[in-house]
């Protein structure tokens, strides 16, 4: 009987210790990742960088921040994928933003920030498109979209074949940026120069830095 329960010969005591420690460490690591992803998806964490505080300004004016339902979407709800591995990967990729924040242009400067905003918006849209707007669908269920007008439901039922949320719903939360296809940087620069009272051509100079 004892022979039936006998461990294979290569499971020595040390291996057993390693397995138990490794297992606990693994569970601990996974729990850590879950907590890590959770914490680093929060508005409070994101806005520890001043540049992100600038992005949050428009967010706090949006219906995603103040919906009548009270269901508030935080930064990560939209910008970080669901699932611990995907979320960790997204955070890993997001590390390059941190790199840019430290070594790149001075994104904390509102002018520099908004001059680079279109590129950020285009990148975000491409990301949403590549995920088939998966993070939108965490909360929004196509079949359940009613809207205030009767037609809103019909449009979402009948006119959305082959389309992803982001195809139509851009500029929902952050400052409006045109679609990349029709975006004209010179016009964007002129608008920013007017807005911040800069001399003509300053935007180009700032971008070249």
């Amino acid at each position: 009987m004892s022979s039936r329960w006998k461990l294979p010969y290569f499971i020595t005591r040390h291996v057993l210790y390693a397995l138990v420690i490794g297992g606990v460490a693994g569970i601990g690591f996974m729990l850590f990742l879950i907590e890590f992803d959770h914490l680093t998806s929060s508005e409070a964490f994101c806005t520890t960088c001043h540049s992100m505080e600038l992005a949050a300004e428009s967010y706090r004016q949006s219906t995603h921040y103040n919906p009548v339902s009270g269901v508030r979407a935080s930064c990560g709800d939209c910008h970080v994928s669901e699932g611990v591995f995907a979320a960790t990967w997204d955070h890993f990729l997001g590390g390059k933003d941190l790199f840019s924040q430290i070594f790149g242009p001075d994104y904390d400067d509102p002018v520099i920030n908004v001059l680079h905003l279109p590129d950020a918006a285009f990148a975000a849209r491409t990301w949403f498109k590549s995920k088939d707007s998966a993070t939108c669908k965490r909360c929004h269920v196509l079949e359940a979209i009613q809207g205030k007008r009767a037609d809103t439901n019909a449009i979402h039922r009948e006119e959305t074949t082959g389309k992803s949320c982001i195809d139509c719903h851009i500029n929902v939360v952050h400052r409006k940026v045109p679609d990349e296809k029709t975006f004209k940087r010179a016009q964007w620069h002129r608008m920013i120069e007017e807005e911040f009272g800069l001399e003509a051509g300053m935007a180009n100079q700032l971008m070249a830095k």
Partner: protein
């Protein structure tokens, strides 16, 4: 044939040889419209904006297979291009966009007084709308008729102070001027609706050009109201005297086909006088080779065909032809002749011209002369509208002065006199002249009034204070007895 006769014939040709039908037949190959991608817009817009979708469904455009994208499509490099449901479109459909098919109408309206409506008031706006009103008034008032200069923002939106706007002289992102939808309401584009006098009312109303009220008060307007069912407003061909005879509308006289006179989308072509100016002038219309136009006072030498001339925007243009005031009047008369005799029409025009000349000589020129003197003497500050007399002078020609002249042009006796010249007279004698004295002092005012006013026969009555009349109750009998 001498040269002047040749030039006259060319002018006549210029007026009369304007394209043949009122709504010129579209000559574009039908394969050029009905973009299959545009058909995809419809089912969504039937839900998202059912009003405009239904209007389009009932339009001649829908009937011909012209869809949303045919008018709204844009290229990515267009200033106002946006992406919408995967298509590159522009919100604003400019006259240049319409000209993809309606080339003739575009060429006609180009350079017309309508398409230049914003440009014409550009230098007045800062004083009137800026000082007396404010930016909000420019957007919701002035620009809604005259047209805004559409401003695009770097984020792809249109500056809300410049859009929505259907002003007829709108300066569009593509550089074209005008707004077809000003008369042809968007999405339905009904020709019947554009032929209605009410199409003009949105702007041709108010103290300076109460043309709706004038028209309605005239016999023409009364006939239209009584017999509108005989007006054939929906007819493809709409030639006065042939397709309808019940009454003329605004369009009939200013744009419409009548007898042999061809229709035109240049609304000012048949106007001899400038009516909304401090002093009316008979004007000649210079047409440039590129289609641009320029109004010149008759007093100026007529430019020769082929010569170079400075256009209203400052650039140079080659003169294609000149429509003299005489020819323009002849064109307008051709409309009258569909119903009236030559002498009837001619005498009506004499009555009209008489009112214009009276306004010019009796009030327009003296008031302008005095104002210029007050400015040059430094008795008024250069800034407009900071002194009461400036309002009085402005209204004298811009409000009641214009009403009198428009009233005479379109046969409303009431507007010519009580709403017009009576008020001009009252405000001239009882407000303007006393204000001159307040501004300039007794001595200087007396000299100015002697020079500009009392030297004219029109004002001699002022020097005859004993010439009594019972109209205000003065007892003529007793005076005679005493």
């Amino acid at each position: 044939m001498n040269l002047s006769l040749l030039r006259r014939l060319l002018c006549l040709a210029l007026i009369c040889c304007h394209p043949t039908l009122f709504a010129a037949k579209v000559t574009v190959d039908p394969n050029q419209w009905g973009d299959p991608l545009g058909k995809e817009c419809i089912s969504c817009h039937e839900k998202a904006s059912p009003g405009l979708a239904q209007q389009w469904h009932k339009s001649a455009h829908a009937e011909a297979g012209v869809n949303c994208l045919d008018c709204h499509k844009a290229s990515v490099e267009d200033n106002d291009a946006i992406t919408h449901e995967g298509q590159v479109i522009a919100t604003i459909v400019s006259p240049l966009d319409c000209s993809r098919c309606h080339t003739v109408e575009y060429e006609q309206q180009k350079g017309s007084v309508h398409s230049e409506a914003a440009t014409i008031i550009e230098n007045r706006l800062p004083a009137l709308a800026g000082h007396v009103g404010g930016d909000a008034i420019v957007a919701a008032g002035c620009d809604q008729c005259h047209g805004s200069k559409v401003k695009l923002r770097g984020d792809g939106t249109i500056d809300p102070s410049t859009w929505p706007n259907s002003g007829i002289g709108r300066i569009n992102p593509d550089g074209s001027k005008g707004s077809c939808s000003s008369c042809h309401g968007k999405h339905r584009f009904s020709k019947a609706q554009a032929r209605e006098p009410s199409a003009c009312v949105r702007c041709h109303s108010g103290p300076d050009s109460p043309d709706k009220a004038i028209y309605e008060a005239s016999k023409h307007g009364m006939q239209f109201q009584s017999h509108r069912d005989e007006m054939a407003l929906t007819s493809d061909s709409w030639v006065a005297g042939k397709d309808y005879v019940a009454a003329p509308t605004c369009v009939t006289c200013h744009m419409g086909a009548a007898g042999k006179l061809k229709a035109t989308h240049d609304v000012g072509m048949r106007n001899v006088w400038s009516l909304n100016t401090p002093i009316s002038q008979r004007q000649q219309l210079v047409v440039f080779e590129d289609g641009d136009k320029l109004e010149l006072p008759e007093s100026q030498t007529s430019p020769r065909r082929g010569s170079e001339l400075t256009k209203s925007d400052g650039s140079m243009g080659k003169v294609k032809g000149v429509a003299t005031p005489k020819r323009r009047r002849q064109a307008m008369n051709l409309v009258c002749l569909e119903c009236h005799s030559k002498s009837f029409a001619g005498s009506f025009m004499k009555q009209f011209d008489g009112v214009i000349k009276l306004f010019n000589e009796k009030f327009g020129k003296p008031a302008k002369g005095i104002m210029q003197a007050l400015y040059s003497e430094g008795l008024l500050t250069p800034v407009p509208f900071d002194e009461p007399i400036e309002f009085t002078y402005w209204e004298l020609w811009h409000d009641e002065g214009a009403r009198a002249r428009h009233g005479a042009a379109m046969a409303s006796a009431n507007h010519t006199w009580w709403e017009g010249m009576y008020l001009v007279g009252r405000n001239f004698y009882a407000r303007f002249l006393p204000q001159v004295e307040m501004v300039a002092g007794k001595e200087t005012a007396k000299a100015l009034i002697e020079e500009h006013v009392k030297s004219l026969d029109h004002h001699q009555w002022m020097d005859k204070p004993q010439k009594a009349n019972p109209i205000l109750g003065y007892d003529v009998t007793r005076q005679d007895n005493e």
